[in-house]
Each structure stands twice: as structure tokens, then as C-alpha cells.
Symmetry: C3
Subunit: 353 residues, 3 copies
């Protein structure tokens, strides 16, 4: 069809991507494909994480088949040893080490219970560019630490889905869906490094769940803020607060509030590592509440996964991602365009340099 | 090899294809790939069947993941609703419906216990062009209604197989094969819309099975007529009748007679939906006979399937379908050429229009 | 990378390849893909083996689906019969046999408990060119007859591995690996039709196993000779003998000695049929020793297989086989180059002829 949209090709390389949940990585050799490259991760004896290309430069054996010897990884094939920076420190059978015997290493850092990897130009890997997780570690706030799922769809489809509250009524019909919700339009706002879709519903009776969690006696104002920081971070901020008060951050924090984060890490062009974590100011210190929340959020994200994995296969079969544009597409379309232009800009810089 | 035959590419689009057994389609959403397109089928509340492209024009979600709301299908992703003609009748969140929000619908009709779909130009979809099934519904004749198998081969290979009685001795060696049969050559006749291969064996003693079914006391004449109506319909007409009588339709009907139909519906270029049904004038009103016949015919067709599925893989690996021509290939070769020329004619018309 | 090595493409066709263990082939139809062609094998009534292309020239049915009728194979589809030389001897339904109805046959011969097939120019198939297996059938020597494994890697990777004792310490760490061994460099020698890597360790105390097998009281000399006869044969000759004696074949035979053969038969470019057999002068006439040896050698070769199958996948993903050259690569690199030049020479001859 003439106005069919083509998929976004490629990746933003200069960005921090969630690579693993902290607990996944230890004194074992762990591999995961990230931006279509095999990445080996492990921890040094002091606990510092390492990320290397999972491929010996000699015969291309996956280093993850090898063994950890102190802080270096030893290839299973001929025993070459590489340190955490990718330098070869031993070649059995010869004294001098060839200059080409070197493995690409990736900047890696740990924060919020996750390992973050930088697959682009290493000199640009500034850890302060990792997204700030709101209220993480703040007293009075509880955290559901990072969880991992594997999703069968392009990170771009997932990003669009996360900026698209309209799907909730239908995809999550049996869980969190709410037919009424689909009738309230979202406001959309674009910043240099984010897209935001949000809505307020003011002066309404609190729903039973909020009544129970927040002890509200009168009317409430409710909001959802869907932020996406391309290429990879979604933050959803949900608040129920007493009606009539100023919508300040302070007042929001006095209501029932949660921040839900998702970190999208492309495995390949069409498959995605999906990490999420959750911060809330209600039912703090109740592990069974955390368990129940984690279980139900995990199930909800799998509903999305089932849907957009099927979409993905149709998109792969046709080479298109969309035929018809709708009003609800505004935020998703902004995200797709922002990701696309970030990729194009990176590739232009690469060519220029 | 220089005289190797290449496979026939493409499909005849302007034809009725068996799409489903009537009982497969109801108030559920059923999808089947036909001519390499995903087709969604369901019945409206009045029982009328619907066939739509199984792909929402918004983000390409398979509509079969959605739900039936009265007579319309609602997409699982954003709740768009399409009626049985493919028109979008609702977009949640907006009043006006974009002109491009439309799903392709296919003419579909029900006959002989099967749903028939027309994947080509809708204005040409004349239901009278559906093949007439002989004796179907005629008193004194019993029907084994439509059965479905999935076959691992191109419809062209299957069509050739159905015009090729010479394979019976070898492929069906353990079931219906008969070494003697292979020695009697078939006559071949070509019409504008059919190919026919047939043989008569006259003045022979009846085989035990025909003796039992027909109560013959003397010699018999026996015939098999293999018709193929390209691109998709095979009719085999088998008769054992008293010797010496005129070979009229009336006299044939007085003998032991069966019409065996196969309807080939390409799933893809190389895989086929295989429907069959059977009409007979013997052991009428004996359900156990019908069961036994259906079971043994089903098993026979799976013998063919096993054989030509293996052939298919060799043909795919080599890019050829045949190296050596034989006398027994006359009818199969006519069928292949007829299908090929129908495809070419359609494509020429398409370009001209 | 600029100095990345590309994989060797193609096969040496004019060579004898192990096609099957003798016991695999009998009065059944057996098929195996060799040099990426489907090969049918069976034995005639007198026990002589036959190797034919497993593809009927009529519609390309795999002949292995058919049946053996005396010494000819009968196609399952239309009953065409082919003799052991590939000539068609019967076409049901016609008297004359088309000239094109012929199946390619391959020279095949039996030796050392294996069937050997020649996939190249038949006139060059001289059985004396089959490798001579040392001591096979000599009194005082025991044979572990041919065993078969399927390996997930290119025959070139396997050939390199077999000329590369340096991998033993690491790949076989838990079985036959020996950290000390990796420190003794091999000598490399190149002949017109072989590459040899070998090492002697002289005047050392015998290891316990050799002490037990050879009854040595004093110091010993030990050697390993790794021969590869491209494209397909590896012979490893391992000796422990009394120190101070001349290193003659006679004296070696008086020590503890074994010849280990591997025969590599490409299934496709990237997968290999791996045959091995073993000849020894110790624990002769002890079937339980043979069983134990066979089991442990089989397990060792599967360790190699696991490693280079993973290497193969990385090589396929990158299109390269090596980035960095090491000293230990000398013999493997010679083998790779020799195979490559044999293929190029054959292809040049083919074009010239």
C-alpha cells in the first residue's frame, strides 16, 4: 500500500542499555545478545562487572564456554586469557602476544539493581546519563527490583506500545483493562529527549482499590504520565490524590503513587530484552503485596508480549508496520520518529568522522 | 540438466477454492493461510460466513486474536471493529473513521458442506462457477461429507498425482495398489476447462468386492474416469456395470459407482490444504461402511502425501520438478501446462487493465 | 576486520570419502548426504555395495523411499527400476526406456570395515588411493572398528582441530587434558600429500598408565605424530618406548603404540560425518579394554564436537573463521591452505577441460 510505514532499521548505539539484573551476573560466564552482538558478562573478584564481546579473536570460540581464572576469562579452545578490559594477557605456547589478540570490551556499570552496558563509542559512556529512577532508595518508598522478560517483538513496537494507553482496554481486557479509560484522550508533549502522554481525571470518586490504599474520604484527582526517553526507557507515573489540591510533586507524593519503569534492550532488530522495576509509596514493607504486584505486572507485560509478538510476525511477513494512522498514534508516532532520527544522526556522525 | 522442468510459480486467483469444512467455522475466529494470504473466517449471527484478510490495517495485528462482537470482529490491539464486508465501523477514541481503515474481504459461499472463497477479482465471483458435485443429495446416493488434510507439497504436484493412476501400484502397494492395473494404459482427452484420463476394462469377471456390492452374476465392464478441472478440482468416477450394456450414465448408475472429489487449496506455493468428499450408490444408509471408507480413503491420501512431500523437498532443493518425461506423464503434463497458462493469462490481464 | 580469514568454500571431489560403517549398509535402502548430495547406498545380493544419487530422474522422488527388487532399486512413485550402475532397467507402462532415465552412480568400495565413496570424476577412482591403515589386520594388533559421529562443524575446522594438539589441555581438561603438554611445542613438516606435526619427549619416567601397559622399568621416550592427508584423513601415531633405543618403526612397535584414524566426510559445507577407528598393540584380545577405549574416545571426540560446533555458529554469523594468528596455528594453517589449493586446482581443471 502506498502510505504503508516501513520498520525502523538499526539501533541507537550511544546509550545505556539494561544488560542484566544484578543477580544474574556473578562468578560465572553469562552471555546475552545485545544490539545483535554476543556480550559476555561476569564479575571480577571484587564484584566489579565486566562486559566483553563473547568471541575469541583467534578462532571465534564463544568465550562463555571457557572458565574464569581469577579476574580473567580463559578461552575453552586454546587457553587464551583476556582481562576485563579485553586485553590478552596469556597465549599458551608463545611469549609475545599478538596485537590483534584483543577482545572488544564495553563500558558497564551497575545501578538500580541492574547492569547497564554501553554498546557505542566508549569515550561517550558517561554513567550520569543513566536514567534517574524516581524515589529509588527514598524512605517511605518500596521498590520491586528489576525483573527480566524476553519479548518477541522489535523494541520500537514495544516503545510505541508503552506510549499507547489506548491498548489497555483491549489487550488487558481480562486483567487491568477498563472500557471507560479508552474514552479519555491523552495530552501529548514532546521534549528534546522525551515524549510524554498524560491525562488527568479530576473530582471523581476514588475507585475501591485507591480508597483502600489511600484512605480517601472524598473526591480524588487521578493522573497517568507516560514518559518515554528514547531509545530505551519508559517511565509511567500514576497518582491518585485528594481533589482540589495543587498538582505539585509534593502533593502527588502524599497520594497513592507509583513509578513503573521499563528498560528495552534490543536483542536483535526484532526481539527485545524487557526489564522492568517498580517504585511505590503504598503497602510499603509488605512483602506479600510486592509479590502480588510483581506477579500481576509480569502477567500483564506478557499479555502485551503475546500481542505484539503476533504483530511482529505480520510486520516481518509484509515488510510494513502500519497502514492506517489514528488519533491515538500521536505519542507512539513521535517516539518512532525520535528513535529513527537518533539512529540517522548517529550514522551521519559516524560517516563524517 | 538442460531439459529439467521448473516448478509452476504463482496461483490462479479467479477461482473458487475450498476454504474450510462447514463445521470448522462458527462463532469463533478461525484463520487459515490461502494463496499465501492470512484469511480470517467466522459466521455472523444468522449463520452467514465471512472471510476477511486476517490483518488489522492499523498496526497489522492478526484479527483472529480479537473477539466477535455481534457480527463484527474487534481487534485485540486497539479495539477497531470491522464488519463482514471489511468496513471499519468503530475506532475507539475518535469519531471519524479514516478511509484507509478497511480490511479486504473475500467473497465466500457455502455449498456441499464446504466454505468456498474467491481470492481474485470480487466482481467475477459467480457462485454458479463452483464445481457441480455429481449425485450430491440425490436419493439412493450416500455422501461422505468434506474431510480436511494438510499436504506438504505444491498443489501442482498434487494435481499431477491425481491425474496419474500409474502411481497407484507403487505408492499404495500396501493398500489399494494392484500390480495388474499398471499395465492398462489410460486414454487422455483435453477440454477447454478440463483434462480427462480414463480406461475401460470390459468383459471381465467382477472382483470379489464388486461381486459383493453389486451382486453381479456374469461378466462386467469396469471404468475409471479421472477428471481435473484446473486449478483445483479433481473428480474420479469409478464404475463396475454388467457387461454388454451401453455405457450410458443411466446404466452406469445401475452398476456400482462412486464419485471421489478432491479440492486443492494452495496454502503457500509449496503446501496445500487438501479437502475431499465422496458420493456412492452402494452400502447407502450404512454408517459403519461410510466410516470404514472414510478411514481407508484418508489413509490412502496420506500415503500420497508422504510420497509427494518428500518429492517436494527434493524439488525445492534442486529448483526442478522433473528431469525425464514418460508416457504416463501425458495427463499430468497437460494439467501442469493448463494451470501455468491460466496463471499467465490472469497476469497478462492484470497488467493490461 | 582487515586480516580476518574467510572460510574455505567447496569440496575436494576427487577423493575417497568414508560413506558408512560396513554394518550400516545391507539389504535396506540407506541414505546419507555427502558433499551436499543425497547418496543412496545398499548391497546387492552378492554383498557388493552400491552408491547412487538418491533422486529419481522422473519426478525427483528420493529412491530411498522405494524398495529393493533383487539387485535393483524400484522407485516408490512410479516403479521405475535402476540397477547398481544407475541404468534404468524398467519403466512400467512403456517398452522403451528414455535415455535421460538414468541415475548418477558413484564408485564405491569396501575396506577397513568402511564403505568408501568417490564423488568426483569416476575414471579417477582408483581404490589403491584409499589411505593405508597401519597394522590393520596384523597379528599382535587389535582394532576398534569404524565408529560414526555427526559433527556440527565444517570439515576444515575439524581438520585444523586434528592438527592442533594445543587444544587438548583446554577442550579436554576433564578427560585427557594435561596442562604440562601445552608447553611442549610441536615440530611441523609439510609433504606433497600430507602435513605432519609431532613431538618427542625423551628420557622421562613413564606415566602410570604406560608403566602398566608396557611394563617399563626405566626411563622412556614418548612421541605423538599428527598426520593429516588432505582432504579427509587424520592419523595420530602415539608411542611410549624404552629410552635410549633408536626411534625405528620396529622399536616403536615394541613399545606401547596406537594409531588413531579419523575420516572426515563433509555432509554439507558446515556439517561433517566423522568416522574413526583405532589400532593398538596393547591389551590385545581384551574386549572390555576395547569397549572402555571406544567409550572414552567417543566421549573425547564429542568434547571437540561441542566446542567447534559453537565455533562454527560464530563463524557462520560473522562470515569469518579467524582474526588472530598464533604460533600454534602453523600446522592447522598449512592444512587449511592445502585443502583450499586442492579445491582451486580441481576447479581450474574442471574449467580447462
Amino acid at each position: 500500500m502506498s502510505n504503508a510505514l516501513a520498520p525502523v532499521k538499526g539501533f541507537v548505539r550511544n546509550a545505556w542499555y539494561a544488560a542484566a539484573v544484578s543477580g544474574e551476573i556473578g562468578r560465572n560466564l553469562f552471555s546475552r545478545r545485545i544490539l545483535d552482538e554476543p556480550v559476555l558478562m561476569y564479575r571480577k573478584q571484587d564484584g566489579m562487572p565486566v562486559a566483553l564481546l563473547n568471541r575469541c579473536p583467534h578462532k571465534l570460540a564463544p568465550l562463555s564456554l571457557g572458565t574464569l581464572v581469577d579476574d580473567v576469562v580463559q578461552c575453552r579452545y586454546h587457553g587464551l586469557q583476556f582481562d576485563g578490559a579485553g586485553a590478552c594477557v596469556r597465549v599458551p605456547g608463545q611469549e609475545n602476544i599478538p596485537r590483534s589478540a584483543r577482545v572488544r570490551s564495553f563500558p558497564v556499570t551497575e545501578r538500580y539493581g541492574l547492569l547497564w552496558v554501553w554498546m557505542g563509542e566508549p569515550s561517550l559512556a558517561d554513567p550520569t546519563r543513566i536514567v534517574a529512577v524516581e524515589r529509588y532508595g527514598t524512605p517511605g518508598w518500596a521498590v520491586i527490583e528489576g525483573h527480566y522478560q524476553h519479548h518477541g517483538s522489535s523494541y520500537v513496537n514495544i516503545a510505541e506500545n508503552l506510549m499507547d494507553p489506548a491498548h489497555t482496554t483491549f489487550v488487558h481486557e481480562k486483567t487491568i483493562g477498563n472500557p471507560a479509560a479508552s474514552e479519555v484522550a491523552v495530552q501529548v508533549e514532546e521534549g528534546t529527549d522525551y515524549v510524554l502522554a498524560y491525562r488527568w481525571v479530576n473530582n471523581v470518586p476514588p475507585p475501591p482499590i485507591d480508597r483502600k490504599l489511600g484512605g480517601f474520604s472524598g473526591l480524588v484527582d487521578r493522573c497517568q504520565y507516560y514518559y518515554f526517553f528514547p531509545p530505551a526507557v519508559s517511565r509511567v507515573d500514576v497518582v491518585t490524590m485528594e481533589a482540589g489540591r495543587e498538582h505539585s510533586e509534593e502533593n502527588k507524593d502524599r497520594g497513592v503513587r507509583a513509578f513503573s519503569y521499563k528498560f528495552l534492550t534490543p536483542e536483535t532488530q526484532n526481539r527485545t530484552h524487557f526489564f522492568w522495576l517498580h517504585v511505590r509509596n503504598f503497602r510499603v514493607g509488605e512483602p506479600e503485596a510486592a509479590e502480588e504486584l510483581a506477579r500481576s505486572m509480569g502477567a500483564t507485560f506478557e499479555e502485551d508480549n503475546a500481542l505484539y509478538s503476533a504483530v511482529q510476525l505480520e510486520q516481518e511477513a509484509t515488510g510494513h508496520v502500519q497502514y492506517t494512522g489514528l488519533l491515538i498514534d500521536r505519542a507512539p508516532a513521535l517516539i518512532r520518529r525520535k528513535i529513527k532520527s537518533m539512529i540517522e544522526k548517529e550514522q551521519t556522525c559516524l560517516k563524517a568522522s
